[in-house]
């Protein structure tokens, strides 16, 4: 039953949601409106790859991190949250999701992640459709996700369109940065979209980059007799619409990252060659299921990767060499790797479990996992960095947004869950559809009145 959707979603991720463990509004701590507070006595995990610090503190002022670690002076008068027995991490960051584009994945009317008959591709801009009230946003927030990249799914062309970066704050503006990256398919999916072969996909991509470059270089000439003619037109043999070509101008100019979904080693090599051909491109590899086989080449090219943590099946002919050691081996080779999610039921809220598995993998002979600090970084600071937001959020370094999650135990452990969440220093509700159902059905019997009155 899920097969079809698995295949479809294998292209990308479906982000959706988190369990609503944590308690509801009652747990929201008192903080001053200006976002000034401190958490003390907690285990602090900075998110930059370092090991957690026990008995530490975090100081927040004006919605920003002032200090975090073991020697944090707490000014008098600052509201203090007792973090004894708790862990504090940065809010989790998932670099590619469909959060805000989907209410229920299989309900077409509610799903804006792709449109098979849309007339545009690269020009699509998901920021215009993001709905911060979509149920998966609240469920993901309750799982500790505070920021996410939102990507469209390629449906009618190799270009999926322009993704955005959002925060998951309740009632928040949602979009932090529109048009944060362009996404293109160059593997099996790209081949299919291009007409049936990777060769065609490569030709389409190169042509598109050329058309964008030409469009960017177009200067209104002497034939411009009126304002309308000053608008650059696409030549008669152009394959892209003007909107799509224009959207690729920042990609060609290196102002907007180009996320490229490829899995197999040969496709990665081919992509790295493209990078040499178009040196201005800011490439990010999405997928890289066989990335470990060319890890040194990826590292040398300084191309970051969004990889699935636990894919270890030859699910396609482009992931024959898949192994859970992929992320660890690439990281060890010096590649900047963040965990992505690439299947429809791998929702962003599973990121800590995936990261924890990679820590467990480090105890397996012959396998390569991550240290605890690296694993947390792979779901916080590294994805933030890849999204171009490393100076804005993603760790507990001074000056960054105070996106904090307080956990009731080791954040990567299965028994743990967020108990309190802040975004930009503001406490967030953990109430969602699931938490309300949980309350209603704590005892299944009906007494006095139907469940609908509870």
């Amino acid at each position: 039953m899920k097969r079809a959707s698995l295949l479809l979603a294998a292209l990308l991720l479906a982000g959706t949601a988190l369990p609503a463990h944590a308690a509801d509004a009652a747990d929201t701590p008192a903080t001053s409106p200006s976002g000034d507070f401190a958490v003390t006595g907690a285990t602090i995990a900075i998110g930059d790859g370092s090991a957690p610090i026990s008995g530490g503190a975090v100081l927040v002022r004006g919605g920003k991190i002032v200090a975090a670690g073991s020697d944090v002076a707490i000014p008098a008068g600052i509201p203090v949250i007792d973090g004894t027995g708790k862990w504090v991490t940065p809010g989790l960051v998932t670099a590619m999701t469909d959060l805000g584009l989907v209410d229920v994945g299989a309900v077409d009317e509610s799903n804006d992640s792709y449109g098979g008959t849309a007339r545009f591709s690269a020009g699509l801009d998901v920021s215009l459709a993001i709905d911060n009230d979509a149920p998966p946003v609240a469920v993901s927030r309750a799982g500790g996700i505070t920021r996410a990249g939102v990507a469209p799914v390629a449906a009618n062309a190799i270009f999926a369109g322009q993704g955005a970066v959002i925060d998951l704050a309740q009632n928040g503006p949602g979009t932090v940065q529109p048009r944060a990256f362009q996404l293109v398919e160059l593997g099996e999916r790209g081949a299919d979209l291009a007409g049936g072969s990777r060769v065609a996909a490569q030709a389409l991509l190169r042509n598109a980059l050329r058309e964008a470059r030409e469009l960017s270089q177009h200067k209104p000439g002497k034939d411009s007799k009126n304002a309308a003619a000053a608008e650059p037109a696409q030549p008669g043999d152009a394959l892209l619409t003007r909107v799509d070509a224009a959207a690729l101008i920042p990609v060609v100019a290196g102002k907007q990252p180009l996320f490229v979904h490829v899995e197999r080693a040969a496709d990665i090599r081919s992509l790295l060659a493209l990078g040499r051909e178009f040196p201005a491109l800011r490439l990010v590899i999405v997928g890289a299921g066989e990335g470990w086989r060319v890890a040194n080449e990826i590292a040398a090219a300084k191309v970051p990767v969004l990889a699935s943590a636990l894919a270890d099946l030859p699910g396609t002919f482009e992931t024959l060499a898949a192994t859970q050691s992929n992320v660890g081996r690439m990281t060890a080779a010096g590649v900047k790797v963040a965990l992505g999610s690439f299947y429809d039921n791998d929702q962003p809220r599973y990121a800590p479990q995936f990261a924890g598995n990679l820590v467990g993998l480090s105890r397996v002979p012959g396998a390569t996992g991550l240290s605890w600090g690296q694993a947390l970084a792979a779901i916080t600071s590294i994805p933030a960095d890849i999204l171009g937001q490393g100076a804005v959020f993603g760790s507990l370094k001074p000056g960054l947004a105070a996106d904090l999650v307080l956990w009731d135990g080791d954040p990567l452990e299965l028994s743990s869950a967020p108990v309190t969440i802040f975004i930009d220093g503001r406490p967030q509700s953990l109430v969602n559809h699931q938490s309300r159902l949980r309350q209603r059905y704590r005892h299944p019997g009906e007494e006095g009145l139907p469940k609908a009155y509870e």
């Binding site: 229920v104 149920p135 894919a311 099946l313 030859p314 060499a321 820590v359 559809h433």
Partner: protein, 469 residues
């Protein structure tokens, strides 16, 4: 499927004739070429019998481990003895290790029964997931009780090895998909690679029959403008099939059948209690309707699979003795999954209903222990505390019971199959992995020994062959 031609005659030798019902089998089905074999027109109840044989093992004693026995029990510093492919004894530190046993130090480690997945499509939707491997849904008619999943299973699915080495899975039920209201027969396998499906079949396991409620059948057939296109259509088609099956069963019992019907054979066997109904059903209200349908026609539902709303009717499931086979916390991917909650398992356990954690997924089957742990943790946060031992039962003895194989496996009791996992830490921790896995007393995975790591035919000579996965 040339495979069928090769093994058809093997199955005939061991089959037995259904008592009192030697019927004329319809000729054909390739029988013409088997000239040397007398085409005795008998009705074979078990025409594709298990040829599974345990591999040799040595007498083994695991000493000093925390033992979760599968029934809910926990023994600190426990000892488990394996010999002759069976569990010989389980006890605490006082249990002596007889001479001749290989002694394994289990200090700091954990032992559980082999993990059992009651809902897998390994083999019928094998990796790589190309169209040529899409053998799980005979989506050409809404009721296909005549198809048998074992005739689709590809025993070289690379997924079997990951389920063993990362998940500690030693037995599993392979089901047809959910496109159809009645999808066909399931098959229970031991997770031991073999050249044939028959050599993977769990000896003596009853068959299951896959049924499905809800969105999938009505979408698949409604999309073709054929019945069913609605939930009421789903029930109408089901009920009509049961009416026909009841009639067939009656004639069969009276020896009055003039023609054999494969589909009706399976359904009549359900009515006779020989085949267990494994029913995909998400919504609480639909499960309640199915329970009434089962009463209407006199069959029993053994387990509701994907029962994301089971928590809403935990009392009803308990009263009817039906297990809920569920994911820990899959949510929201389709309309009928919108009310899924992570506390589902804990709420069911709290109400005294039977809980099984299943995968339905070639990745999820590698982490059933973790899924169970997550489900337990969600319960703890609302004040429902299920012990480690009981949580392990969700992935061992409970699925064994719902598969009808609990006399042979699913718990660590003397005389049961030597199916067990030695974990390098508590299996309910994200940091733990199977260290060794025995199936019928044979060591078939060892974390430290690359020679005890299965590699499917498919992977030979391809990138990644023999790598850690």
């Amino acid at each position: 499927m040339t495979r069928m031609g090769s093994f058809r005659t093997i199955g005939r030798t061991a089959a037995h004739v259904l008592a009192g019902l030697a019927l004329l089998a319809s000729p054909g089905a390739g029988m013409a070429e088997t000239k040397a074999v007398p085409t005795t027109p008998v009705w074979q109840e078990n025409p594709y019998p298990s040829t599974y044989k345990p591999y040799p093992g040595e007498p083994t004693a695991i000493v000093g481990a925390t033992v979760f026995d599968g029934t809910g029990g926990e023994i600190a510093g426990g000892t488990v003895l394996l010999k002759g492919g069976k569990v010989v004894a389980v006890g605490d530190a006082r249990l002596a290790v007889p001479d001749g046993y290989r002694r394994i130090d289990g200090t700091g480690k954990f032992v559980t029964p082999g993990v059992i997945d009651i809902h897998s499509h390994l083999g019928v939707y094998a990796s790589p997931g190309v169209q040529a491997h899409s053998d799980g849904n005979e989506a050409t008619s809404p009721t296909t009780p005549q198809v048998w999943a074992e005739h689709s299973v590809w025993p070289q699915d690379p997924g079997f090895s990951r389920a063993l080495t990362n998940g500690g899975v030693t037995s599993m039920q392979i089901l047809p998909g959910s496109a159809n209201l009645i999808g066909g027969r399931s098959v229970v396998l031991k997770n031991v690679y073999a050249r044939t499906v028959q050599a993977m079949k769990f000896p003596g396991a009853p068959y299951g029959m896959k049924m499905a409620c809800g969105e999938n059948p009505k979408r698949v057939y409604g999309g073709r403008n054929t019945m069913p296109s609605t939930r009421m259509g789903n029930f109408a088609v089901d009920r009509q099939a049961w009416i026909k099956a009841a009639e067939y069963r009656k004639k069969r019992a009276e020896g009055k059948l003039t023609e054999r019907d494969l589909a009706m054979d399976t359904m009549a066997d359900v009515l006779d209690g020989k085949i267990l109904v494994q029913n995909h059903c998400y919504r609480a209200d639909e499960m309640a309707q199915v329970i009434d349908m089962a009463k209407e026609f006199g069959y029993k539902v053994t387990a509701f699979h994907h029962a994301v709303e089971a928590y809403k009717i935990a009392d009803l499931l308990r009263e009817n003795g039906i297990c809920a086979a569920i994911w820990a916390d899959w949510w929201g991917f389709k309309m009928e999954a919108f009310d899924g909650i992570p506390e589902n398992a804990a709420l069911l356990a709290d109400a005294g209903a039977c809980v099984i954690i299943h995968s339905d997924d070639a990745n999820g089957i590698q982490r059933l222990n973790q899924e169970a742990a997550k489900a337990r943790a969600a319960g703890r946060r609302i004040g429902i505390d299920v012990s480690d031992g009981q949580v392990i039962r969700w992935i061992t003895l409970n699925p064994a019971k719902a598969l009808g194989i609990d006399k042979q496996t699913g718990s660590l009791a003397p005389g049961k199959m030597g199916d067990l996992v030695l974990w390098n830490g508590n299996p309910l921790s994200v940091y733990s992995r199977p260290e060794k896995v025995w199936v019928d007393g044979a060591l078939l995975f060892d974390l430290g020994d690359p020679k005890r790591r299965p590699v499917s035919d498919f992977e030979l000579g391809l990138p990644g062959e023999g790598d850690v996965k």
